[in-house]
């Protein structure tokens, strides 16, 4: 497909010099709204937060921030709860991101069937992701109730004595992972958009060639969906680092029994708006951003190995 275009390229290449300059200008023009927004709205606050990370500042006091150099960063290294928060977030990401990717893909393939009533099912599965965080979390508090919760009642029916979920440090994190799966419809919606872009004739051709459903999934669906999967993977990692509202409500802001669900953002929030240590919280944010960035970059660096683009232009 791409090869046929290459035949036409020499003619284009002759005009490249002038065109390239025009394309460059147009490129900058196209992204200019974002660039302007970055410089006007984002750059100053972001730089300010970087500056604050080198200060001691009680945001609820009337005092100005005091410069303390790298002290916040060195204190963070010695802060056991900071490491706890990182560990909780990593374990959550390792469990919830792949699970959501796989279940979301499976669900979206179910929802992509050309059958009657699909609009209704799609709306239904999208429902959990539009319910505001507070309502969702209160719901799940009941579902995880060790004695009367829906989950343990059902488990008891099949002869399993369910754990105390959110009250048990060994299980609380799994409860949050289960809850994250309930919102999988939000990711499935994005997969759906990708699935609908896959031409039907590819499947028709494949089935004429005798390819089964599994082969079609491996050789058509997954490669053509790979840009979407890359997107969801990167956003999933970032999302794990930003998990906040649900755990805040589920644990009343405490991070659960013995910090078992003290997510990174929850700890950051505690520092920023409960202890008002804005400088410390800023330092934490920058370390978190650096870690998430490294992870995202690793994913991007690996992407040529598994992501397939129709129009590769570098």
């Amino acid at each position: 497909m791409a090869r046929t275009v290459d035949l036409a390229r020499p003619a284009i290449r002759r005009r490249r010099g002038r065109l390239a300059r025009k394309e460059m200008l147009e490129g900058y023009l196209a992204i200019s709204p974002w660039l302007i927004g970055l410089l006007v709205f984002a750059a100053l606050p972001i730089l300010a937060s970087l500056g604050l990370s080198f200060t001691d500042w009680n945001a609820s006091s009337a005092q100005a921030p005091a410069w303390i150099g790298l002290r916040n960063y060195s204190d963070l290294v010695n802060d056991e709860y900071f490491w706890t928060a990182l560990r909780v977030t990593f374990v959550y990401a390792l469990l919830s991101v792949p699970l959501n990717l796989i279940v979301g893909l499976f669900l979206s393939m179910l929802l992509n069937q050309k059958l009657r009533g699909m609009y209704l099912f799609r709306t239904l599965f999208y429902l959990p992701s539009v319910i505001a965080g507070v309502a969702t979390a209160t719901l799940w508090l009941w579902i995880f109730n060790p004695i009367y919760g829906l989950l343990n009642v059902i488990l008891a029916k099949v002869g399993i004595a369910g754990p105390a979920w959110l009250s048990d440090p060994a299980w609380a994190l799994y409860a949050v992972v289960i809850m994250s799966l309930w919102g999988v419809g939000g990711g499935a919606v994005i997969y759906l958009a990708g699935l609908q872009n896959i031409p039907a004739h590819l499947y028709e051709a494949a089935s004429i060639d005798g390819a089964g459903r599994w082969a079609q999934l491996r050789h058509i669906t997954l490669p053509l969906l790979s840009p979407t999967i890359l997107f969801l993977l990167v956003m999933g990692i970032i999302g794990a680092f930003q998990t906040f509202t649900t755990v805040y409500v589920l644990t009343g802001g405490t991070g659960g029994p013995e910090q078992s669900v003290l997510f990174f953002m929850l700890y950051l929030y505690q520092k920023a708006f409960q202890d008002f240590q804005m400088g410390y919280a800023s330092a934490m944010a920058w370390i978190g951003a650096a870690i998430a960035m490294v992870l995202a970059l690793l994913v991007f660096k690996s992407s040529p190995l598994w992501v397939h683009y129709e129009s590769e232009r570098t």
Binding site: A62, I68, P146, S167, T251, G252, T254, Q270, F273, D275
Partner: protein, 445 residues
């Protein structure tokens, strides 16, 4: 796509004028503007049900001060701290707001010192009927807040549950052991009935009741600087072991796994097992619980909180205070409002709704609250000695006491032996102390 845009633009064309019509001042506001009326803002963090009381207070105030318009702004509790911190730090704070600084933090806080205003208007702080009210709102003799209410703890009981179990009702002469004995009789775990409501994080012995102080213990020194020598003192150890016994020896409180059913930890968990009829006794905090108790489906009463035999009674008390923002451009008007909302006149309005307990002596007498049996417990408690709650006394409480909270969690799950408590508390006190020391060192750099 074009059609979509057309629809969107049509909506904007319709919606924008609608909203503009909202922001156009009404004739009344316009008239006020002509008359040089000053508008001040008043921020509160309470739920919808409480708003009519605030509105009534504002109306009464504006009647008295026609040249001041008060804008009552209700900020949802879940975002209150964030909104206040952001707006004040960002230079656009409220004129008057519900403030909760530690006294020690007042001098560096955005709260305006009030003594000159109070002196000019001859406001006598003695109208507030417990010295602890003043203690919570002042630092080194300077007032930074005026009280909205006075939350005092008392022991609420479910009369129906007591009668059903044929247990004698609590009296003011009860000791803590009488309370435990009754709670044992009222507990029937298989029927989901427990004797005493329970609050995690050692809330049952500190947050709502003075049990820790009754034992002679405390988690921190009165100034909030020291944990070693307090958190690990023999008296504190005894109080914590009492907490352990409530859960694991006598088993008279709902287990931690069940407490989750009565509401979200930290939000409205208080009193819910009691309100649901599952706990017969409950340490309640006057000003916050009364509104809820009015909706109880059973007959209830109140007694003063029991203490140990031969020990003095303590009151557990904490007032919500109003402060004025230092950056306010209408300080005179803001003070007028503060003076009003903590006055007997305003308390009289509150006394009619009773969403919180009025802090002025005059109001109690005027409405005979001291004579009403369910209020009498609060009234009797007013003369007891009291201290600031540890989480108010210690400005670094939130930052440093996670190990203590973890011990509470472990006790609730019965994974720490009773005999291990002294050693645990000793280690925790050291840990908390080094955190306090570090935070104070930062502060004085």
């Amino acid at each position: 796509m074009r059609r979509l845009f057309a629809v969107l633009i049509a909506v904007v064309v319709v919606a924008v004028p609608m909203t503009r019509s909202l922001s156009v001042p009404s004739t009344a506001t316009a008239a006020r503007a002509r008359a040089n009326i000053v508008t001040i803002t008043w921020w509160n963090p309470d739920i919808v049900a409480w708003q009519p009381t605030y509105q009534a207070l504002a109306r009464a105030f504006m009647k008295q001060y026609p040249h001041i318009a008060v804008q009552v702004i209700n900020i949802p509790e879940s975002g209150y701290a964030t909104k206040v911190a952001t707006n004040i730090a960002g230079g656009k704070g409220p004129d008057v707001w519900v403030n909760s600084h530690t006294p020690e933090q007042y001098p560096t806080s955005p709260a305006q010192p009030l003594n000159s205003f109070m002196a000019a208007d001859h406001v006598n702080p003695n109208i507030w009927f417990q010295p602890a009210v003043s203690n919570a709102l002042t630092y080194k003799g300077i007032y930074y807040s005026v009280p909205r209410d006075m939350g005092i703890s008392a022991l609420a009981y479910n009369v129906d549950a007591f009668n059903k179990a044929h247990v004698a009702l609590p009296t003011d002469r009860w000791t803590l052991m009488d309370m435990v004995a009754a709670a044992k009789k009222l507990t029937n775990a298989s029927q989901h009935h427990w004797g005493l409501n329970y609050e995690g994080g050692f809330g049952t012995i500190t947050d709502l009741s003075p049990i820790l102080w009754d034992f002679g213990g405390s988690f921190v020194s009165d100034d909030g600087h020291k944990a070693v020598g307090y958190m690990d003192s023999p008296a504190t150890i005894k109080a914590v072991q009492f907490d352990w016994d409530l859960i694991n020896t006598w088993k008279v409180v709902p287990p931690a796994t069940v407490m989750g059913s009565f509401g979200i930890a930290g939000s409205s968990a208080q009193g819910n097992a009691f309100l649901a009829g599952n706990a017969a006794l409950d340490p309640i905090d006057g000003d916050y619980a009364i509104g809820d108790l009015k909706s109880a489906s059973f007959k209830w009463g109140e007694a003063i909180y029991p203490t140990l035999p031969g020990h003095p009674h303590y009151a557990y008390l904490y007032p919500a205070g109003y402060s004025m923002w230092r950056g306010s451009t209408h300080k005179k008007e803001a003070w007028a409002l503060m003076k009003f909302i903590s006055s007997p006149a305003a308390n009289a309005i509150v006394a009619k709704t009773l969403f919180w307990t009025p802090p002025t002596l005059a109001t109690w007498k005027q409405f005979g609250l001291d004579k009403i049996s369910v209020w009498a417990a609060f009234w009797k408690t007013r003369t007891f000695q009291t201290k600031l709650p540890p989480w108010i006394a210690a400005q670094f409480w939130g930052d440093c006491t996670t190990p203590l909270m973890n011990l509470s969690d472990k006790i609730e799950r019965d994974v720490v032996a009773r005999a291990a408590i002294p050693a645990q508390l000793k280690a925790i006190a050291q840990k908390v102390q080094s955190c306090f020391d570090r935070d104070y060192a930062r502060l004085h750099r």
